[in-house]
């Protein structure tokens, strides 16, 4: 015993130091990864959060454009109300999304729809060769917008409802991707609310379309 004990003691203190170092590094690492991935952190420009906030602004802007076109083309109280609702709500939401990017110091510009090609096996809709015209789900074409612009009365109403139902479905698809891929709780909550509201509006618009 008296021969072995000192040797055993000698080999003990470096182990203690290493263990302590390991604990410190592990704690610091957990702190850093926690900070970098969840609360109080700033998402990077290539994150799904930033991509969603940019592309959903563009998506919302077209909904506003269509809703304003509709409101100028009908006297129907229900359609004027839902058009007003969509135009003002989605303008406000675009401002929120703009503001988060600004607060996080991120550019408003990013190549559209790259974030939805992220590694969840869900195909995106981007054509990266295109400098910025990548199509987003549910977006109306220039020709469809021109058709709406040229129409009036019941025909404009039906066209608007069809286009906006498709637009909302595309918006929900994007918001569902953001719910899966975004790291910021505030962005995921925003996406969840968007899904709930647009699902309800689709129901309402489908009833309105059935009446026409």
């Amino acid at each position: 015993m008296s021969e072995e004990a000192p040797a055993a003691r000698r080999s003990r203190w470096p182990v203690a130091v290493l263990a302590l170092l390991g604990i410190v590094i592990a704690l610091a690492g957990m702190f850093w990864f926690g900070r970098a991935s969840v609360v109080g952190s700033v998402p990077v420009s290539t994150s799904a959060d930033a991509g969603f906030l940019r592309d959903m602004q563009t998506h919302h802007e077209q909904a506003v454009e269509m809703a304003m076109l509709m409101r100028e083309r009908t006297d129907d109280a229900d359609l004027r109300a839902i058009a007003y609702d969509i135009a003002t709500a989605q303008s406000q939401q675009s401002g929120i999304m703009y503001g988060w990017l600004q607060q996080w110091g991120l550019d408003q510009y990013g190549v559209p729809m790259l974030w939805m090609q992220g590694g969840d096996g869900h195909p995106g809709h981007a054509t990266p060769a295109d400098g910025g015209g990548a199509t987003m789900p549910g977006m109306a074409t220039r020709e469809q917008l021109a058709e709406l612009e040229a129409a009036d009365g019941a025909r404009a109403e039906r066209l608007f409802l069809e286009l906006m139902i498709a637009h909302h479905r595309g918006g929900i698809e994007m918001a569902e991707a953001a719910e899966r891929l975004a790291t910021q709780p505030i962005v995921r909550d925003f996406a969840a609310k968007t899904i709930a509201v647009q699902t309800a509006e689709i129901d309402a618009m489908e009833r309105m379309l059935a009446e026409r």
Binding site: S2, A5, P6, R9, R10, R12, W13, A16, V17, L20, L21, V24, I25, A28, G29, F31, W32, R35, A36, V42, Q57, T58, E61, Q62, V64, E65, M68, L69, S94, G95, Y98, Q102, G105, D107, Q108, Y109, P112, D130, G131, G132, G133, R142
Partner: protein, 219 residues
Amino acid sequence: MTEKSQSPAGAPKSVKQQRAARREEKVAQFRRDQARRERNRRFGIWGGIGGGIVAVAAIVALVVVTSLPPAPVVITGLQTFSNDATHVTGTVDYPQDPPAGGAHHAAWLNCGIYTEPVPNENAVHALEHGAVWVTYDPALPESEVEALRAAVPSTYAVVSPYPGLGAPVVVSAWDAQVSLDGVEDPRLAQFIQAYWKSADAPEPGAACTGGVDGAGRIA
């Protein structure tokens, strides 16, 4: 430590004395070991603290370095201005050509691609809403014009010919402008990155649709 007897001095060492000597030797050994343990313990503590400080400093340095915003790209030849934003009804004599901000009409130009020159007074209102305006020399070959149109975002951008332009392409936003050597000039992408929907515009995110179309709008 339960010694019961003392051996007389000078006498040959009895068994008891030998035991006592061994005991003393053991005590001395114990003290040496204790001193070494104490030394090692201090090494361990201070080594651990020192190592911990180094590790924490390294992590903090990593966090700080990785969270610093990337250095902004310097756009060579960029000009910036300080224009006001009043509404007028007539034509405006702009200090920049093409205009990069200033007085403008109540109606904004709808963003999109135009084959004809667009009215300055409406286009400036689109700049106020955060649009980027890409103007090109009408003498540019059609293939280059097509490349230019493809390189510009589908919203919050106006592309139009501009007679008398002093460069193949000039790209403008509110209070910012750069003349480009051609459609492949990398500064086009840099300018779009920096100024598209820029927070430097008076009303970024205000609509670039629902205003007025100029002549020759194709997208």
